[in-house]
């Protein structure tokens, strides 16, 4: 895969956010999406995280009008996907990495999409080189490895050079070099003003790739925001009167956990916590924002959501 820049970066697109508003989807009695709302902003890579079966793929399918919603909706730049006049020139999507006829070559798969998009064979060659399949382009897809199919899927998404990318687990099956190249490609597109929503189970990869994250569990939003903010969301406090400070902080809307003499505060910044303690005349011994890996945060968010739903 050739690193981004030469080919496949959106050329100065207007900002096109992806907005999901109150999305609800049922499969029989199973509530797959429960009033889900979030925004993926332009010029950012948004990581879309959640445990298996949490509704990530369903959300993407509803965004792309591959599935219908029972409530709410999703828009891309304020327009529903089905109302986009030439959707593949606005949105590139990868929702099923194995959606290829095994007897058809990678080149022909792309040429079919190029026919639909009104693109020429040169663009197909360009994309094949971009995703590193130039040498295997004329082999049947049935002989491709999972990683090669993933590259082909990414090529399909990039073919129309769209400013918006919606990718479901694009790193699945890629080798470390492929993951690195994909990351560079997506970062370059975001830097050029594109909007990218990427679902992934590879949290370490998301930490390197994403600017923002959206976390869902059981179809519900459990966390959303800039990755850096979310990683440092907890403030740890040691003070002269933990019980009184806990009451004050909870009164200010924070969620406070007591761990011996230390308080763990969620929902207030370091500055706000310090100010409230100062105003109450409580002596602070130690106060700092706690950082954690995305994995630690993810497990906490999803565990909390699980407890809440029980």
């Amino acid at each position: 895969m050739v690193v981004a820049g030469a080919v496949g970066t959106p050329s100065g697109p207007p900002p096109i956010p992806i907005e999901v508003d109150g999305l609800t989807k049922r499969y029989g009695s199973h509530l797959a999406l429960d009033d889900l709302s979030f925004v993926a902003r332009a010029g950012r890579v948004t990581g879309f995280l959640g445990p298996n079966g949490s509704g990530k793929t369903t959300t993407m399918k509803v965004m792309l009008d591959l599935a219908s919603a029972d409530g709410g909706g999703a828009t891309i730049g304020g327009t529903r996907y089905r109302d986009l006049p030439d959707p593949t020139s606005v949105v590139g999507a990868l929702v099923e990495s194995n959606a290829f006829h095994p007897g058809r070559s990678g080149r022909n798969q792309l040429r079919i999409l190029a026919d639909v998009d009104g693109l020429d064979a040169e663009r197909v060659d360009e994309v094949l080189e971009t995703v590193g399949l130039g040498g295997a382009a004329d082999r049947p897809v049935g002989g491709y490895s999972l990683g090669m199919r993933q590259r082909l899927g990414l090529g399909c998404a990039l073919l129309g050079d769209p400013p918006v990318l919606i990718l479901d687990e694009p790193a699945n099956g890629l080798d470390p070099k492929g993951i690195r190249e994909m990351r560079d490609l997506l970062r370059a597109r975001a830097a050029a003003g594109g909007t990218t929503l990427v679902s992934s189970h590879l949290l370490a990869e998301v930490e390197l790739l994403a600017d923002d994250v959206v976390v869902v569990d059981r179809g519900r939003l459990v966390a959303e925001g800039a990755l850096d903010d979310l990683r440092t969301e907890t403030v740890a406090v040691r003070c002269s009167d933990p019980s009184r400070l806990a009451s004050i902080l909870e009164g200010a809307g924070a969620n406070v956990n007591r761990d011996g003499g230390e308080l763990s505060v969620q929902g207030l910044s370091e500055e706000e916590t310090g100010r409230l303690a100062f105003d109450a005349g409580i002596v602070i011994h130690r106060l700092h924002a706690e950082s954690g890996t995305l994995e630690e945060r993810f497990l906490r968010w999803t565990a909390t959501a699980g407890e809440a739903s029980r």
Binding site: K61, L66, D86, P87, T88, E96, A99, N108, I112, L113
Partner: protein
């Protein structure tokens, strides 16, 4: 999204796998069987009376019924595999107004069926004529008769393919779609005739025979549809699964 672009893409889908070649091989096989029958086959009395007239030979060459069934299977596989392999996802991403995508697919499959039907009729005509000239009767079918058989096969191929593709899109499974085609063309029509003898001229095989310029009198049928009516009713046989395909595709989530 331009309908022409979608149609072109659907044609490329059909021509970039080996499936059409497999069906061409089947058609060549059918042509060879017919040629063998003419060259070496005899009636019970050892004569070759079954090819003694131009009408007999044209009846032997008539490929409409075969085109219906073979192209029905072609359409069924082509329609169902889009969903079996998930390639329909790419189409619906490019054309979220799914009715357009289904229309393009059915149009492309109809074109493919017409080509296969034509090829089958030509291969059979070549086989039969080549074998007939080696017999005492020679080849007796007029150019107009050959043309009628070929045109009928092209039309029946298109209709069969659309019928099969419609079922394939509804069922989304090649095995189920193939079974559906066999039921629709080989099991249901005789049952309809059993229920009402008046249905006999309107079942697909009788309609294909009519279009090929063959009279049903020899088969003991009392009535035969006119060509115009045969065309219209044969189209109806394909319209029903096509409408089902449009409705099902529009209402269902793509999985």
């Amino acid at each position: 999204m331009s309908p022409l672009r979608l149609f072109r893409a659907e044609i490329r889908k059909l021509t970039t796998t080996r499936m059409p070649l497999a069906f061409l091989a089947v058609l060549a096989g059918v042509g060879a069987i017919n040629a063998s029958l003419v060259r070496w086959g005899t009636d019970f009395d050892g004569s070759k009376a079954f090819i003694s007239t131009g009408a007999d030979q044209q009846s032997l060459m008539a490929f409409g019924q075969n085109a219906l069934l073979i192209c029905g299977l072609f359409g069924a596989v082509a329609g169902a595999r889009e969903h079996t392999y998930g390639t329909a996802i790419w189409t619906f991403l490019a054309s979220p107004r799914r009715a357009r995508a289904v229309a393009a697919q059915l149009a492309a499959v109809a074109a493919g069926g017409a080509v296969l039907g034509t090829a089958g009729a030509l291969l059979t005509a070549i086989g039969v004529s080549g074998a007939a000239v080696t017999t005492e009767f020679g080849f007796l079918v007029s150019a107009g008769g050959v043309l009628r058989v070929v045109v009928a096969a092209a039309f029946c191929g298109a209709i069969g393919a659309v019928l099969g593709a419609g079922l394939g899109v509804v069922v989304r499974n090649a095995g189920g779609a193939v079974t559906g085609v066999v039921l629709a063309l080989m099991v249901v029509p005789p049952l309809l005739v059993q229920l009402s003898a008046d249905a006999a001229p309107w079942v697909p095989s009788a309609l294909a025979t009519t279009l090929s310029g063959i009279t049903l009198e020899a088969a003991g049928a009392e009535r035969q549809a006119g060509v115009g009516a045969a065309l219209a009713v044969l189209v109806l046989w394909a319209v029903v699964p096509s409408v089902a395909a449009f409705v099902a595709t529009d209402r269902r989530d793509v999985v």
